[in-house]
Amino acid sequence: MPPRPRRPRPLSVVGTSPPRLEGAAKVAGTARYVDDLEFPGLLLGRTIRSTVPRGELLGWSMGRRPRGLHVVSAADIPGRNAIALLEPDQPCLVRREIRHAAEPVLLLAHEDRDALASVAVELRERPRKAQLDVRASRSFCKEILIEKGNLSRGFARADRIVEGEYTTGHQEQLYVETQGVIAVPEKDGVTIYGSLQCPYYVQKALVELLSLPPERVRIIQVETGGGFGGKEEYPSMIAGHAALLALKSGRPVKLVYDRSEDMLATTKRHPSIVRHKTGVRRDGSLTAMQIDVLLDAGAYVTLSPVVLSRGVLHAAGPYRCEDVQILGRAAMTNTPPNGAFRGFGAPQTQFAVEVHMERIAEALGIDPLELRRRNALRPGDTTATGQRLGADCSALPCLESAVRRSRFVARRRAIEKHNAKARVSGGPLRGIGLALFFHGSGFTGAGEVKLASRAALELTPTGARILVASTEIGQGTRTILSQIVAEELGWPLSRIEVADPDTREVPDSGPTVASRTCMIVGEILRRCAQSLKRALGRMTPRQYLAKNGPLVVTEQYDRPKSMHWDDVHYRGDAYGAYGYGCDVIELEIDPVTAEVRPAEVTAVQDIGRAIHPVLAAGQIEGGTAQGIAFALAEEVVMRDGRMANAQLTNYAVPTPLDTPPMQVEILEFPYGHGPFGAKGVGEMPIDGPSPAVVNALRHAGLDIRDIPAVPERIAGLVDSMRGAAT
């Protein structure tokens, strides 16, 4: 038996669900987003983009230029023409080489929208043969090998070997507010107001691009209408563009994309091809897992190496196996670069392993539930990188709870009976599917140590102000960080304020990504609160300030002593903590129209500790809806290297009516180094739905291994199923 999770002390603020701090302003429409901001002398920006997926830019010509038009090309870049992130390969503006369609070439600015739109620009491009097929690409920007045990030994012990290939498509983040920034030229630098996730990423990029010292590049995040990873790296690009125009014109410049431009030009989820070869014993135990992961990086490196890293680290799923080999590669193609998107590689690889598990059960003729029970990770087991899991490893409790709540076994039997009749009558079919998954919180391996994030608390006369660069993008950052601080100080929530993320005011608490804000930044802030409490002693804030003057306490990320990571061999503790989850999804399938309707969803997820249960459940519901759509609806149609359906009328995202009723259960297996036991919750919910949906389709008789399984694809399968039946 695993040791029982320790019962934490009773809490008064953490674990309650107060209204979101910025909620009222958003509901009332008084929250101001980038496009709402005005500055005297504001110019509007426009981006001229390449039309071919690969080629050379030979030159450009411009029709009539309205008076007051500003033009920026690569030649105007004062610093290095590259977006600084992992590799300096992506230019801010094309100089000569074009590597993908919709690549930025020229920037225009004018104060009048119509005048700006009326400028006709002709690019002279010499097209070259583009690589649009990721399987054919031989250019890899990253390879990762994970080895555990001895693969041939594992296969030798197997009774059966099951192989399969699984693919997933692009997915668009589809934040409601499109990408947008305003750049304001200052006496000796520039200030950016932007819709973004990571102020310090933007600062780092602009420092290189503009050749300015960091203190002269000020980044301020304004209210942001969603990110989902899409505002992790791209804001560096658009902010660079606006800054170049602002510095050249000497006036503030606003650059806000419309939906089509946003969909055409910005990053998406990496398409994936994952192959599994698995050795299993007759009783279902896994003896060997050989996994090959291929991601389509697109035309530039952006964040692909780290997306690949998270992808391979989750590729074996939450399962125990002694002999494992995982090879991951990210290949370059001439399509717009793919990048960060909620889940960051894990949804792709866990789709593959969970659908593969279902096929293993089928091949062995055993119950898929039993197969998972037998192999699920338990406390004390090791992952593919050899990380030994602690008492908070909750794969089995998640599985059992989801099975119980959804009445999985009874429903499965009832559906099989129903389908036997429906196959004769031609009526709607049903299917029920399950997926077990996990998700590492925080940066991978040594990432958090390298980031060395800092957070601070400033004493105010009435309480404390939080100083972090972690951004509110709709997920509730401000509220939950305030709850953590209030709890530690023993104060009511109303005494805590949150400073706007402004690089001049707040320390670098790292990017708002990787399910790290609550667990990592929250814990640093909790320690700040501890120090503040100690400093205050029995004084009130007002007394302290009167006596000692201002007080700001700053703390830095502190690696748990037991954590070790070898980045060369990919061995050791890949993440500080893992959340676990199990989704059960029931579908109804119209065999004639091929419409698939998710009918019921049960989502059970262990997030260590729900700081704000309503917001946490909201993350789970939203991520689940997005994950179902990843499996069934959202299809990025690529034609000649560009998105052909870059419009919301053709790219189908689910509406509330498409979202099934969900039963959400939050389990709390606390993590010792997270604030009050919290792990991450932002990304995990999107890992489970796509395999659960596809396993439900499989239960109804449809063999799907590629998603999105849009109706046209399902229609073909239904036809062949009918053909086989007659």
Partner: protein, 323 residues
């Protein structure tokens, strides 16, 4: 979007006069017009709103016909008790369109006159045949959402939910022109096939304003149905849609009308299947046989063959639902 002047007309005749001047556009709910403006597919210099025109938001019964004014919204029609009783398919079609937010703003007449959703047409960067370019780009391109009938020159599908249902009742529109003259155009003559003029969807002249949609009463109005298949449950146009009206005598069909919506560039009557239903009692088998007849002349494209199977099933269901 191009800058424009916004004026509010006090009467429909005045709106017609203003709209007839070069580059004017009438705006009712503004849902489609705004979209077209944002995508630079319509660039009016002057937008003439009719929202202040007195009495324009009324639904009346006149001599047995239902008369729908130019500011009547889809939501209003969808919940109108008389429409639901006697012009059932029309009310249902209005209630199935778009989303609750859109239905509260969008007008019924604007719905008839909306422009197609073809993704080549709606993409401002592309010159398709409908926008004066040389080719219909869907022929060799992405055509999963396109027409399965009459699709050789241009493969748009008719976008309106309301029009196939309104055609069941031999509906017509009454209009006023810039010179003050009035005419009545049956819906069967309102919509333009690509082979006649590929650049427009209806015969209204510049500045001609619709004053009302008139739906005569018909036997079997309560035996009428509208069905659509969509990818999403809201905020989406149909992949396929149709309306059916049956005049029954006991359990035998006396007369039938079947009109397809999102299947061809204009609403499409299916006379052969209508004739086949007459004199028959409706059961699964007759419904399926009639449905199959409807698709004999289908010419699916490279990616939309699925619409034939889907459409056949929906047609049979709509016939059964109309009984």
């Amino acid at each position: 979007m191009k800058r424009f002047e916004f004026v509010e007309a006090s009467s429909l005749a005045q709106a017609a006069k203003l709209a007839a001047q070069p580059n004017g556009a009438v705006r009712a709910g503004g849902i489609d017009l705004m979209d077209l403006q944002k995508e630079h597919l319509a660039e009016p210099d002057r937008v003439i709103s009719i929202r202040r025109v007195p009495g324009a938001a009324e639904i009346r019964e006149e001599g047995g016909a239902l008369v729908i004014g130019p500011l009547v919204t889809l939501a209003q029609l969808a919940s109108h008790p008389v429409a639901l009783a006697k012009w059932k398919a029309v009310a249902v079609a209005a209630g199935e369109a778009a989303s609750p937010q859109v239905r509260n703003q969008a007008t019924v007449i604007g719905n008839l006159l909306q422009r197609p959703r073809c993704w080549y047409f709606r993409n401002e960067l592309l010159q398709c045949a409908r926008k004066g370019g040389p080719d219909c780009l869907s022929q060799e391109g992405e055509n999963r959402y396109h027409a399965i009938f009459e699709n050789k020159d241009c493969a748009i599908v008719h976008a309106s939910n309301v029009s196939p249902a309104a055609m069941l009742f031999d509906g017509s529109v009454k209009t006023v022109k810039a010179d003050g003259s009035r005419r009545e155009i049956p819906l069967a003559k309102l919509f333009v096939k690509p082979e006649v003029d590929i650049t427009k969807e209806h015969v209204l002249e510049a500045g001609e304003v619709v004053e009302a949609l008139v739906l005569p009463a018909k036997a079997g109005g309560d035996h009428s149905s509208f069905l659509a298949a969509r990818e999403k449950s809201a905020f989406d146009w149909p992949l396929f849609s149709l309306a059916v009206r049956l005049e029954m005598s006991g359990n035998v069909v006396k007369a039938a009308q079947i009109v397809f919506g999102a299947a061809a560039p204009t609403p499409l009557r299916r006379e052969k299947a209508e004739a086949a239903l007459v004199g028959k009692a409706i059961d699964e088998a007759t419904a399926r046989a009639a449905a199959a007849l409807c698709f004999e002349d289908a010419t699916p494209m490279t990616q939309n063959g699925y619409k034939v199977a889907m459409g056949t099933a929906l047609t049979a269901r709509a016939i059964l639902a109309a009984v």
